[in-house]
Amino acid sequence: MSKADATIEVTLVDAGRLAVQQEMRRDPTVWVLGEDVARGGLWGQYRGFLEEFGPERVVSTPISESTIMGAGLGAALVGTRPIIEMRIFDFVMCAMDELVNQIAKIRYMFGGQARPAVVVRMPHGMWRNSAAQHSQMLESWFVHLPGVIVVAPSCAEDEAGLMVSAIRSDDPVLFFDPKDLWPLTGTMPAGEIAPIPFGKARRLREGKDLTIVTWSAIVPKVSEAAASLAEQGVHADVLDLRTLWPWDEAAVLASVAKTKRLLVVHEAVEVGGFGGEIVARVIDQLGPSNVKIAKRLGAPRLPIPFSPPLENQIRVTVDKIVAAGLAAARA
């Protein structure tokens, strides 16, 4: 293998860490603030940062979510590029005014004067029996919120490349780390981490029988399910959107135009989830008569319960994906 082709094996958490580290080395105005970040972050996303970048750029904060978010915005308004670490997505609910009414709207309200170049990192999703207040996925909300970019990677390589793009973006980027996948190992090119553009899906598998659109923590299960479907003769075209706003409508439309069958799979609650938007756009753009079936698979409209069998009951599983895929392919 030539040097240019050299790859490294990294966990998803390390991929994110390396990306932030690279950008903090490149640009001295990039910094990170949040609870416990100077100690490396709750999962080691910032391990070694205090030593390398010092306490002015790696700022452990009080438990003050409104101000973590709002101060990040203020610091962006004077020309720095903060990474706002929210620890766990659910706690973002303590900082929604700052996110929704300020960060998302400030550039527009001020006629372009403000550039809220922040990355808001919000590890989300089900996570080892953490119950209702530590497991939520509400990424679809932010697609509906003008002014922000919504990023939701599912693997180490995307975590890294999308993080580089997020940090370099002048738009506010809501970055949903899939926290249950932190230990997941992936492969990425050695050396400089290249930015991955927003709005380009990753094709996980090519197929002609069915289009499966998915993102974030459920992706590994979708891959597994797609492999199983292939064994059963159903070849799915699997697209990991990677970013929900902008999203790769062109890729999805092209795929469904080919397969005529759409299945959207996400971990979040199905009702009101981003799957509805995808179905609606596909139907709108291709016309109902050019689609044979369009289905969604997500969680039932329930808070996340604690107990393992209850969590398993409501979780989107490989079996459920396979079943939905078979049903869609045969409809």
Partner: protein, 335 residues
């Protein structure tokens, strides 16, 4: 939980042997509960995160000894002690920690969301400071209903930097609500020394600036906690509005059960352990001639071991119960 009310409450300051023994028993049960839970967690019998309050038992015991069943409490993520001291059953708590049928929340909550409304325990909370607005609202509701019950709101020193602290204190003072705020100041918030993220002279000054006065005590001296709580609750019950009890204490362990707490300064931990509220009261009790302390210890250990075993052997909740208790109208059904 002591079910005493009225006159017997005032006897707290006298600290007769029976009351001290009760306090001791409550603390020992909390300690035993959490040590047993820690072992069970290590043995992978308990899923999810577990936050224990080992070293802090004096606060829960001393405060709740002054509450009746009708009084309410709110708690935070480290709430086993509060629940037990308020009268929740260890057995149902264990079932909940294990995620089993019969647990307080039917397995939906786990350690971080234990509640027992039947004894006035309005719930632990996974969001720091989350209990403060709820507590003041409960107090407001009780006042409106002309209830004589009061509310105790337990929170940690990390909670004083979130906005609802200010809002809730101001609110309680403004409406003269029957609520006792109890700040369990163990010096840390998750992995961070609270002093390193908290400006100004401290929680008592913050409270006073919002119109709430109170007392600061050694939280590891359960007798002092009991006395202070009695005094402050008397003020609260007599319509004097909210009060704060600031209890200085120490958490022996890491943030969660999976945090080995290697980051803590060993000398500090040693000093903290030396101030163990249980050992201190035991010494006092022994000096005063109490005899049944070993029995209490053994009974607690036996109780918790049995609870653990029962929970471990218990049924899992039926999976379809995941669909229950979301809402009455518009509930999705199990298919």
């Amino acid at each position: 939980m002591s079910k005493t009310k009225g006159a017997s409450r005032t006897s707290a300051s006298g600290h007769n042997l029976a009351r001290l023994t009760d306090l001791y028993a409550t603390m020992v049960r909390i300690r035993s509960f959490e040590e047993t839970a820690l072992q069970a967690h290590k043995a992978s019998e308990i899923p999810g995160p577990l936050h224990v309050s080992i070293g802090q038992e004096g606060v829960a015991a001393g405060v709740c000894a002054n509450l009746g069943r009708a009084d309410r409490i709110t708690s935070n993520h480290r709430g086993h002690g509060h629940a037990l001291a308020k009268g929740a059953e260890a057995g149902r708590m264990f079932l909940e920690l294990f995620g089993r049928e019969g647990g307080y929340c039917g397995g939906k909550g786990g350690s971080m969301h234990i509640a027992d409304f039947s004894v006035g325990m309005l719930g632990a909370n996974g969001v720091v400071t989350g209990g403060i607005p709820i507590a003041v609202g409960a107090a407001q509701g009780l006042k409106m209903l002309k209830s004589e019950a009061v509310v105790v709101c337990f929170f940690g020193d990390g909670a004083v930097n979130r906005g609802p602290f200010l809002e809730g204190f101001n609110w309680a003072a403004l409406f003269r609500l029957p609520v006792l705020f109890v700040c369990e100041d163990n010096g840390v918030a998750a992995f961070t020394a609270t002093a390193s993220v908290t400006a100004g002279p401290g929680v008592m000054a913050r409270a006073e600036s919002l119109g709430v006065t109170g007392l600061s005590v050694d939280g590891n001296d359960v007798i002092a906690v009991d006395a202070a709580a009695a005094q402050l609750l008397a003020d609260v019950r007599s319509g004097g509005g909210p009060r704060i009890l600031h209890a200085r204490t120490y958490r022996w362990t890491g943030h969660t059960s999976t945090d080995a707490a290697a980051w803590r300064v060993p000398a500090e931990v040693a000093a903290g352990k030396a101030g163990c509220p249980i050992a201190r009261l035991r010494t006092t009790l022994s000096e005063r001639g109490a005899k049944d302390l070993d029995t209490i210890d053994a009974a607690a250990a036996a109780e918790m071991a049995a609870c653990r075993a029962t929970a471990h052997a218990a049924q899992w909740p039926r999976p379809s119960t995941a669909f229950d208790d979301v809402q009455d109208i518009g509930a999705v059904r199990h298919v």
